[in-house]
C-alpha cells in the first residue's frame, strides 16, 4: 500500500507518515497541494492521500477537486486530515470529493479505524 501525506507542517507529515508506515504503508510527502499534484503527475499513484486543508500555494480543498476531476487518479482515496472542524467545512470537503475526513488532533487508533472504514487497512495488522 502506498500513501501520499500532504501537509505544510513537517512535524505533521512525520506524524501521519510514521503512523501509516506502522500500518505497513510506503509513504511519500508533499508540502502543499501543488507539490502533491507534481508527485501524481510524475506517475506516483498512491492508494491513499492524506490531505491537510490550510496550506500555502494550493490548499487541500483545491487539491481534492483537482484529483477528483482527473479520471487518471480515480484509484486514489482521499482523506482530509485537518483542524477545520465545522460541519459546513466537512460538508464542503465531502462535496469536493474527499472520501473521508479526519479532524486534528487524532490518535493512531483513530487512523486505524478510518483505514478500516475505507478498506485500506492491510490485513496483517487489522487488530
Amino acid at each position: 500500500m502506498r500513501a501520499l501525506v500532504i501537509d505544510d507542517s513537517r512535524a505533521m507529515r512525520r506524524i501521519v507518515g510514521s503512523i501509516l508506515e506502522d500500518f505497513g504503508y510506503e509513504t511519500r510527502q508533499a508540502g502543499d497541494g501543488r507539490q502533491a499534484l507534481d508527485v501524481l503527475e510524475e506517475g506516483y499513484l498512491p492508494d491513499l492521500a492524506c490531505v491537510d486543508w490550510n496550506m500555502p500555494v494550493m490548499d487541500g480543498l483545491q487539491f481534492v477537486s483537482a484529483v477528483r476531476s482527473n479520471p487518471a487518479y480515480r484509484s486514489v482515496t482521499l482523506m482530509m486530515v485537518t483542524t477545520e472542524s465545522e460541519t459546513s467545512q466537512i460538508v464542503r470537503a465531502l462535496a469536493a470529493g474527499a472520501h473521508e475526513y479526519m479532524i486534528k488532533p487524532f490518535t493512531a487508533d483513530a487512523m486505524r479505524d478510518k483505514l478500516a472504514l475505507l478498506g485500506l487497512l492491510p490485513q496483517e495488522v487489522s487488530l
Binding site: S85, E86, T87, I90, V91, A93, L94, A98, E100, Y101, M102, I103, P105, F106, T107, D109, A110, D113, K114, A116, L117, L127
Partner: protein, 274 residues
C-alpha cells in the same frame, strides 16, 4: 505538583488491582491531571487530599470513579465492523420477514460504555428502515452510572467522533455543541440507557430481537459466563440474534446456542427446544 509518593503508590495499586493496567513510575502527572477535577469538585485542595480521604473512609463509588478516570479510553463507532455489516445485511431482513410491519424491533446494547455501539445501531437502522424512529427501540445498559449518563447525553468529544465514525454520518446525525458533538434528537429518542449489572439478576426488560454483548464475557469466569448467557437468553425472543466479541464464543460455555456464520463473522441464536 502536590501528589505524594504514597498517594501515587496507592493509586497505582488500586488501578492495577481493578483494571490490570500498570501505571509506570513517572506517570504522577497523569494521575494529577486526571484526578484533580474530582478533588476540586469535592472542595479538596489536591489529589493527595482526595486519596487521603478515600483511604480514611473507603467508598466504593469514589474508588470506581478514580479507576474510571485513569483507565477510560475512547471506544470506536463501527468497532470490528462485521456485527454491523451483518445487522443490516442479514439479520434485519431475516427479522422483518418474520414480523408484522408494525411490530417493534428491540435491541439491547449490553455494556454500552459511552453509547457508541447503541448509536451506531441507531444510525444504521434509521438508514435501513424508513420508520425506524417509531419502530426501533434500543436499550443500552452499563454497570457504570457515569457511562449510562454519558450515553443518555449523547455527546461526544472530538477525539471520540474521530474513532471510526464515517464523516458522512457525522455530518448527517450530529450537530456541534461547543467543542463536542451531539447526536440528533431522533436517534437519541431511539435509545434508552439504564444501569445494569450483568453478573446479577437482570432487571425486567425485553424481550429482545437482537443483543450485542461484546467484549464482556472475557472478563468473567466460566460460572459467571454461564449465568450471564442464561439470563440473556431468557430475555431474547426465540428467533433472536446474539452478537459476541470477536474473541468470544458460547461454545464450551453454554450449549443452548447455535452458532451461525454471517459473512466474515458469526452470531448466536437460541437453540430450539430448550
Amino acid at each position: 505538583m502536590t501528589l505524594t509518593a504514597t498517594s501515587f503508590d496507592w493509586v497505582r495499586q488500586l488501578v492495577h488491582r481493578e483494571s490490570a493496567i500498570v501505571l509506570q513510575p513517572g506517570k504522577e502527572y497523569l494521575v494529577e491531571a486526571r484526578l484533580l477535577p474530582m478533588a476540586q469538585q469535592r472542595g479538596l485542595s489536591g489529589v493527595s487530599e482526595l486519596v487521603e480521604s478515600v483511604r480514611n473512609r473507603p467508598d466504593a463509588a469514589t474508588t470506581r470513579r478514580i479507576v474510571e478516570a485513569l483507565t477510560t479510553n475512547e471506544t470506536s463507532w463501527f468497532r470490528d465492523g462485521d456485527p454491523f455489516t451483518a445487522l443490516t445485511g442479514m439479520v434485519l431482513p431475516s427479522l422483518l420477514g418474520g414480523r408484522r410491519p408494525d411490530e417493534p424491533i428491540t435491541i439491547w446494547s449490553a455494556a454500552c460504555s459511552s453509547g457508541q455501539e447503541a448509536y451506531t445501531i441507531a444510525m444504521l437502522l434509521s438508514d435501513a428502515l424508513p420508520d425506524a424512529a417509531r419502530r426501533v427501540s434500543i436499550t443500552a445498559t452499563d454497570l457504570s452510572r457515569e457511562m449510562v449518563e454519558r450515553t443518555r447525553a449523547g455527546r461526544f468529544s472530538q477525539l471520540e467522533v474521530n474513532r471510526g465514525l464515517p464523516a458522512s454520518m457525522l455530518v448527517r446525525h450530529f450537530t456541534r455543541a461547543g467543542n463536542e458533538w451531539e447526536i440528533s434528537p431522533t436517534l437519541r429518542r431511539m435509545v434508552t440507557a439504564t444501569e445494569c449489572n450483568l453478573a446479577a439478576p437482570l432487571p425486567r426488560m425485553g424481550p429482545f430481537d437482537i443483543v450485542y454483548l461484546r467484549n464482556v464475557l472475557i472478563y468473567f469466569d466460566l460460572a459467571t459466563k454461564q449465568g450471564i448467557l442464561r439470563r440473556v437468553r431468557q430475555l431474547m425472543r426465540p428467533d433472536g440474534w446474539l452478537f459476541l466479541g470477536a474473541a468470544e464464543t458460547t461454545l464450551g460455555v453454554d450449549d443452548n446456542w447455535e452458532r451461525v456464520v454471517l459473512g466474515r463473522g458469526s452470531a448466536y441464536r437460541p437453540r430450539k427446544g430448550n
